[in-house]
Each structure stands twice: as C-alpha cells, then as structure tokens.
C-alpha cells in the first residue's frame, strides 16, 4: 500500500525534525568527581530550541554540574553532550571559547568586575571576544536598555542594588546574542519583588528566541511560571514535567525512571 509507506516516511521525517530541533541532548551522561562525589548519574534528556526550563532539586543534586557540562567547565566521565549540533565532549579545547559565546551564564553572585562601570562590564564581554569595535557602543546600550539600566550605564557595581547588578550581568550575557542562557540561582540573593522583575526579564529574553535554563530553589517562582521542570536528586532526573510545579504533588506529574 503506497499510503502506508507515505505515513511511515512522514513519521520518519517528523522524527528527524524533532532530533534536529533538539538544541541540547544528553546521552547517558555521568559525572563523578575525582573525590568520588556524584554530579550526574546516567542522565538522558533533551532541551528544545526556545524552551524555558527550570532545574530544581536539593543542593548537591547535580544542577550546577548539569550547567557546567553545557559550557564544558567540566567534562562527563561517561556519555555524550550535544549542544546546538556540536559534541561538547569531543570538541577541541580551541573550540571551547566559541561554545561559550553561544552558551552564556549568569550567577547568584553576578560575577561583575567591581572596577568597571556597568557599561564597561557589558562592553568587556564584547571586547574580549573581538567584536567589531564600531558596534560595541550600540550593542551595549541596546542591551542595557533591554534590562532597563541605560540610565545607570556609568555606575559601578558597588553603587547598584543587587537586582540592578543582576540586570547588568544579564545584559552582559545577552549582549553577544547567545543561543542559550544558563542561569544558576539568579535570584538567590534577591527579595521576591526584585526576583520577579528578573524573571520577567528572563521571559522577555526567552521570547526573543534564547533558550533559558534556570536552576533555582525559589518555589514561588517555579510555581508561578508553570514551565517545564526537571527535578534532579542524587545526580538523577527524578521528574520531568512539561508544565510543572516546584514539588511533585500526589497524582501530578510524570515520574521518569532514573
């Protein structure tokens, strides 16, 4: 029957398309640190282009290891990590800087340079990646405008509030137009109102097409956003909900086998 073959072909093309759309793919990835601590244990997962994903779980569950694998700050002891079509495990060390231009990170402690102004901090990320010097000014100001801090471009980090500092660090992360934004507890040091401001900003960046992965302990934010939630515990994925809450509730969510 020619019709059956057609359906099969369509299915196969669809399957392939899905694979192509996977921005991030982890194939049975394990990371055991030299001291014996387990970062991740046999993790298989994927993240699609344009997704907004929360990583939750207790401290030491493997959230940070997960993120550090994507920027090749650590290498897995086993398995393969594919980011945007590139095998992170097998790439040459000289390719790593280019991976990190596409996968940017923000942190709980912002990691801003205290002796540089907000503007200089953002421009620094462009300069050290050898961006066209003529575009630096426009791109930095665009970025600062997006995070709502164009008026404080000349302020030093010490003169800014925690929330403002995080905004500067987000501006620095997005100024290079990354494909993926990793946020490791970005609201960890901020009060709830400021945190929501940051979340709105991250959502806006996500809507522009950047995939956002955020590790957090903030229950109300996760519950309020209703986005995909990957829960880690002891290095394993114990839950992966498309529209999940911070904690798994009875009868809610799908439990994946380790």
């Amino acid at each position: 029957m020619p019709r059956a073959i057609e359906v099969y072909q369509v299915n196969s093309i669809f399957q392939e398309l899905r694979e192509v759309m996977m921005l991030i793919r982890l194939y049975s990835v394990s990371k055991v640190y030299p001291n014996g601590a387990v970062g991740l244990l046999n993790v298989d997962t994927y993240i699609r282009q344009g997704e907004f994903v929360f990583l939750v779980g207790p401290s030491g569950a493997g959230k940070t290891t997960f993120m550090n694998l994507l920027t090749r700050q650590v290498l897995p002891t086993q398995g393969q990590v594919i980011v945007d079509g590139r095998n992170v495990v097998r790439m040459r060390p000289s390719e790593v800087p280019y991976l990190r231009r596409a996968v940017r990170m923000i942190f709980q402690d912002y990691k801003l340079l205290p002796n540089k102004t907000a503007y200089e901090n953002v421009a620094f990320a462009l300069r050290v990646t050898e961006a066209n010097p003529r575009q630096v000014r426009t791109r930095v100001m665009e970025s600062l405008e997006l995070v709502g801090l164009a008026c404080k471009a000349r302020a030093y980090p010490g003169e800014l509030s925690g929330g403002e500092q995080q905004r500067v660090s987000i501006a620095r992360a997005i100024v290079g137009d990354p494909t993926i934004l990793l946020a490791d507890e970005p609201t960890g040091n901020l009060d709830l109102d400021t945190s929501w401001g940051i979340m709105e900003l991250l959502l806006r960046i996500n809507k522009r097409g950047t995939t956002v992965i955020m590790a957090t302990h903030n229950r109300s934010i996760v519950n309020g956003m209703m986005r995909r939630v990957i829960e880690l515990d002891g290095g394993k994925i114990v839950r992966d909900d498309e529209r999940g809450a911070y904690r798994r509730e009875a009868g809610h969510g799908m439990v994946l086998p380790g």
């Binding site: 000289s94 990190r100 990170m105 340079l113 620094f124 990320a125 050290v128």
Partner: protein
C-alpha cells in the same frame, strides 16, 4: 587580528606591568642583565686579545748550518706540505739579525760583543688554526735539516685554555642569570594573574580565547624585560666607557675594544634578550597559572 585588539593587549600589558612591578624586581632584572652584559664584554675583550695574539703566533723553524740552496728549498716545500700550515717565509741569517737588533732597541750593542752572527737561517711559519700550533710545530721539527722550532711553547696553550675556561664559567653564570630574570618576570606576572583572577574568570566565561587572555601577560613580560634591559644597557654603556678610559690610562699596552659599535651592538642584543626572556616567562608562567 584587529588593530583595536592589538591596542588592547599593549594597553593592558603596559598597565599591569606598571601596577605590579616593584623597584626590587625591576632592579634585580636590570642587575642580572647587567652582569650578563658585563660577562659578554669581558669575553668579547678576551676574544679580541686572543685574536690579536693568535695573529702574531708564528712558528720559527731554525735550519742547520751549511745547507745548500737546494736543501733549503726542499725543506721549504716539506714545511709547505705539512697539514695546517698557512704561510711560510724565509728569514735569512742577516734578516734575522736585523730583526733582533730592532727588537732589542737600545740594548742592541750586546750583539756587537758577540761579533759574528750567531743566528741560523730560519723559516717563519704561520698556522691556519692556533689550536694546532703545537702539533704543527712538532711535525716541522721532525723534518730533516730542521735544527729546532720555537713557537712560545706553553704560552699559546695556556692562553687558549684560559679562554675556554672563562667561556664555560661565563656560560654557566649567564645561564643562572637568565634563569633569575625569567623567574623574577614570571613571579611578577603571577601577581598579575592572582590580582586579576576574577577578570580572567569572566573572560573565560564569555568566551575569550586562551591566546586573547594570554597576550597581555606576554606584553607585560616583554615590557618588564625591555625596561630592565634598557636600564642595564645604559649602565653598561656608560660603565664600559669609564672602564676603558681607566684601563687605557693605567695600562695602555692592554688592547681593549674601544670602538663603540660592538658595545652598542651588545646593548641592542641585551634589549632583544630582555624582551625575549620576558615573553618566554610570560608565556610559560601564564600557561601554568591559567587553568582553563
């Protein structure tokens, strides 16, 4: 590489060199390079002296009395055929006496006491390689009709041995001082790496290449090496001119190098060495302290 990037490297390197260098480290670099340069000057002068002396080293082969002109010609041919001989000149009895008179100067009267010319006919032999003077002299002395040879036995060997010893000792000391310079520059750069750990961390995070991170440190090392070498070069140039004036006043017969060119060339070499050592130190140490 963009011009702006090159400018960034130079500016960063220069700034951190200025921020982290101390008088002690710069002084030590300059002093080490000064000692290196001084050693090189001493070696250059010794070499100069030995070359002058070597040019003068000749073997004189005295001939037996009463040889026929054909016999003398045969001996000349044999000497000429000896391995390592560059040039042979005949010095007759009379010529020899005249030269001796010239050398004795006011004491020439002593020769009149002797009366008859006591000198035999002789050949002056110039050798190709001063190192082999003794060997060539021994061969010539075995030629029949040669009474004996004279080439300042012992002195040549001693001079050459001294030169070699000074050369080896100089090389060892020089190696130590090179190591000292590299170490001091490396240590200064280590301070920079530590003081800028955060900046380096951010650079890595946003995707700066390793070479981009490393270049400012190379520049810093080169700046340190260059400044140290410039100081030592100036001191060396001035010091050498003073020393030359002193020596020529004290002992004018010692043939020191007085032309400014070789000394200037040495100073330029010192500058290049300073830059090179700084760059090597910068490259090696940064690689060690920058864990990607």
């Amino acid at each position: 590489m963009r011009l702006a990037t090159v400018w960034y490297f130079l500016a960063e390197g220069w700034r951190s060199a200025r921020r982290n260098v101390s008088l002690i480290s710069l002084g030590t670099i300059a002093a080490s390079l000064f000692v290196l340069g001084a050693l090189a000057l001493i070696l250059m002068n010794l070499n100069h002296v030995s070359q002058l002396l070597q040019a003068r080293i000749e073997i004189r082969a005295f001939l037996e009395d009463g040889l026929l002109p054909e016999g003398v010609a045969a001996i000349r041919a044999q000497i000429q055929a000896t391995d390592g001989v560059a040039q042979v000149t005949f010095v007759s009895k009379d010529e020899g006496l005249r030269r001796l008179r010239g050398q004795l100067g006011e004491h020439a009267g002593i020769l009149d006491v002797v009366g008859e010319n006591p000198l035999p006919d002789a050949f002056d032999v110039r050798v190709e390689d001063a190192d082999r003077t003794a060997q060539v002299a021994a061969r010539i002395s075995r030629i029949p009709g040669v009474l004996g040879v004279n080439y300042g036995q012992g002195f040549t060997e001693k001079l050459l041995a001294t030169m070699r010893l000074v050369g080896v000792a100089g090389a060892v000391v020089a190696a130590l001082f090179v190591a000292a310079v590299v170490f001091i520059v490396g240590n200064t750069i280590r301070l920079t790496v530590i003081s800028r750990a955060r900046e380096i961390e951010v650079m890595k995070l946003v995707g700066a290449t390793d070479w981009f991170i490393r270049w400012p440190f190379l520049v810093e090392g080169m700046v340190l090496g260059l400044v140290g070498a410039a100081i030592s070069g100036l001191l060396l140039f001035a010091g050498y001119n003073l020393a030359v004036r002193y020596i020529t006043g004290l002992a004018p017969f010692i043939p020191v190098i007085t032309a400014p060119e070789p000394v200037a060339a040495l100073c330029v070499a010192l500058l290049l060495m300073g830059v090179l050592m700084g760059a090597v130190a910068g490259g090696v140490f940064v690689k060690r302290y920058l864990r990607v």
